[in-house]
């Protein structure tokens, strides 16, 4: 959606360290990895001259409709609930090896990233997704197993 450099351009660039980071660039990187939010920069939030930038950034980080924070979209019209992604998703297998990891019904639903509900896969608990957080990696587990390309990352 954007890169750290673009975010940096919208920051005050004063390196005031009030956010706890050593520089505004470091803050921009932290924003990118969802470690911090625009509210964590006091000048940006409080000073009126930055209001425009602040609103723009808040808009950027507000999860847009249908898109989850990891950028995962499920095309509900394409999905037919085969559950391949649910069974193949690495965090799902790690968190529920005898349930979804073995092809069965979930036994640990509040730790699962993907689950089938009413015949359509639903993304949830995104904190568990390998594309989320500080140590995120570009995992393709759910995309390559989908026969109809119903899952997409943006």
């Amino acid at each position: 959606m954007t890169n750290a450099m673009e975010l940096y351009q919208m920051l005050p660039k004063t390196n005031c360290k009030k956010c706890g980071k050593t520089s505004c660039m470091a803050f921009a990187v932290a924003l990118m990895s969802h470690e911090l939010t625009p509210e964590d920069c006091p000048p940006l939030k409080e000073e009126s001259k930055y209001r425009e930038s602040y609103e723009k950034m808040s808009e950027l980080f507000k999860p847009t409709e249908g898109v989850t924070e990891t950028g995962l979209i499920v095309h509900e019209d394409l999905c037919f609930g085969c559950g391949n992604c649910v069974v193949a998703c690495p965090p799902n297998v790690a968190n529920d090896p005898h349930g979804v990891g073995s092809g069965n019904a979930p036994t640990n639903a509040n730790k699962l990233v993907l689950a089938v509900e009413d015949g359509i896969v639903k993304a949830q608990n995104l904190g568990e997704c390998r594309r989320f957080g500080k140590n995120k990696i570009l995992c393709y587990g759910c995309i390559v197993t989908c026969p109809v390309e119903a899952i997409e990352f943006v």
Binding site: C82, N84, A88, G119, T145, P147
Partner: protein
């Protein structure tokens, strides 16, 4: 917390891990099931009349009386369907067929019947779907597209789940192979292991594959690249627990099962292979087994004063073509829709009694229509999964629709 799981009777897989949320006997939410299963479970939302004669609502007694008189006046009635009925209904239907000297058939006579017969007679090595999940390393989908027909087949039983002896998952420990005439959704998942053959090219492909397995140069009239065939042969030779899922695509293309027997024989000399039919309806396998236990045949039979006749002329297609049947009792099937028009139109000339849980083309053209409970959703019982495992289930919701079994017994009494 112990959860209450239900069995989905939407296809031959009989998934037994479905969670259902219902209120006032209406299914609101279904978890874990695929879209086919959800549609099947939610079908119970209907408010059609239970009994119709000439498309007009009547009471139960009138409908049963009318049905019984149709069957009584017929010299050679046909009983067809039962693919989605529970074992108990199927046994009752066999009894009824005996009593009225009927022709009895189901969809397997033009689907996977020959294969089911060979498996029941132990002519082919088979295994259960749980074995596939726990042990299989080479999985072949031949002439079938489970991604569309049995959506959870890959995720619940075959390719993706981790099993007791396959802990490291599909990327490392399993190979999925698709052999088909077109790039199906399943073939897409198989990636480089998709072997596209021309229609009717299966028998030749099997011969070439056998040649490849025996170390000869595989040749086909459609010039399939020998290198690719040898690559396939090598994968199959290395299989520790192989399984072939056979669909109608392969059965329709073969004139008889001989090539398949030959292939299975040589595969089991070089490696270890099993075969499972991709049965569509939830209890077609059960019908084949129940009828086999009773008569020694899996379909297309004619009862005549205590004796049983069998042959293709007693299948629904041939008997309608020859107009040898003079009434029909259709249970949970829609022959007017699924049969070719030239054959199905003969059904319009005879009185038809249909039993189904929803209005179908056949029910609209029936003299008597009985709206029955959905097996597995509104009525409990047992069914046989595509791999021959018996699955028992409880109803998920209550209904005022009568079950097929009860109706059949009442018709029998009225006779």
């Amino acid at each position: 917390m112990e959860k209450n799981y239900y069995v989905c009777t939407g296809c031959g897989l009989l998934c037994d891990d479905i969670e259902v949320e219902s209120e006032k006997n209406i299914v609101n939410k279904v978890y874990t099931a695929c879209r086919v299963g959800v549609a099947h479970m939610k079908e119970a939302r209907r408010n059609e009349a239970n009994f119709l004669v000439d498309n007009k609502p009547v009471d139960e007694a009138t409908a049963i009386k009318e049905a019984a008189s149709i069957l009584k006046n017929a010299k050679n009635p046909l009983i067809f369907g039962l693919g989605t009925s529970i074992n108990e209904t199927q046994k009752a239907a066999i009894e009824l067929a005996k009593k009225i000297n009927a022709t009895l058939d189901d969809t397997s006579s033009f689907c996977l019947g020959p294969l089911a017969e060979a498996l029941i007679q132990d002519k082919l090595k088979t295994c259960t779907l749980d074995d596939v999940r726990n042990k299989a390393d080479v999985i072949i989908y031949w002439g079938t597209d489970p991604s569309d027909s049995h959506p959870r087949q890959l995720s619940k039983y075959s390719y993706f789940p981790r099993g007791t002896e396959k802990q490291r998952g599909w990327e490392e420990e399993r190979t999925a192979i698709a052999i088909d005439v077109r790039k199906s959704h399943t073939a897409k998942i198989c990636g480089n292991y998709f072997f596209q053959i021309p229609p009717k090219g299966d028998a030749e492909f099997i011969d070439a594959l056998i040649a490849g397995l025996s170390g000869k140069l595989p040749k086909t009239s459609y010039n399939y690249p020998p290198k690719k065939l040898l690559e396939l042969a090598n994968i199959l030779k290395g299989a520790k627990f192989g399984v072939i899922f056979v669909g109608r695509g392969l059965i329709y293309s073969l004139e008889n099962l001989e090539p398949l027997f030959k292939l299975m024989k040589i595969l089991n000399e070089k490696a270890n292979f099993h075969l499972i039919p991709m049965v569509g309806n939830c209890n077609t396998m059960g019908f084949n087994e129940n009828l086999f236990a009773e008569t020694g045949y899996v379909n297309s039979v004619k009862f005549e004063n205590g004796t049983v006749k069998h042959g293709p002329e007693y299948s629904i297609v041939e008997s309608l073509k020859a107009k040898s049947v003079d009434a029909a009792l259709i249970i949970g099937s829609d022959p007017l829709l699924i049969l070719p028009r030239s054959i199905a139109k003969n059904m319009l000339e005879i009185p038809v009694i249909s039993m189904d849980h929803c209005e179908t083309l056949t029910s609209k053209h029936s003299k008597v229509y009985i709206n029955t409970a959905i097996s597995g959703v509104e009525a409990g019982g047992s069914a046989i999964r595509m791999d021959g495992v018996k699955v028992s289930f409880e109803p998920a919701i209550e209904t005022n629709h009568p079950s097929e079994e009860v109706i059949l017994k009442k018709i029998m009494e009225a006779l």
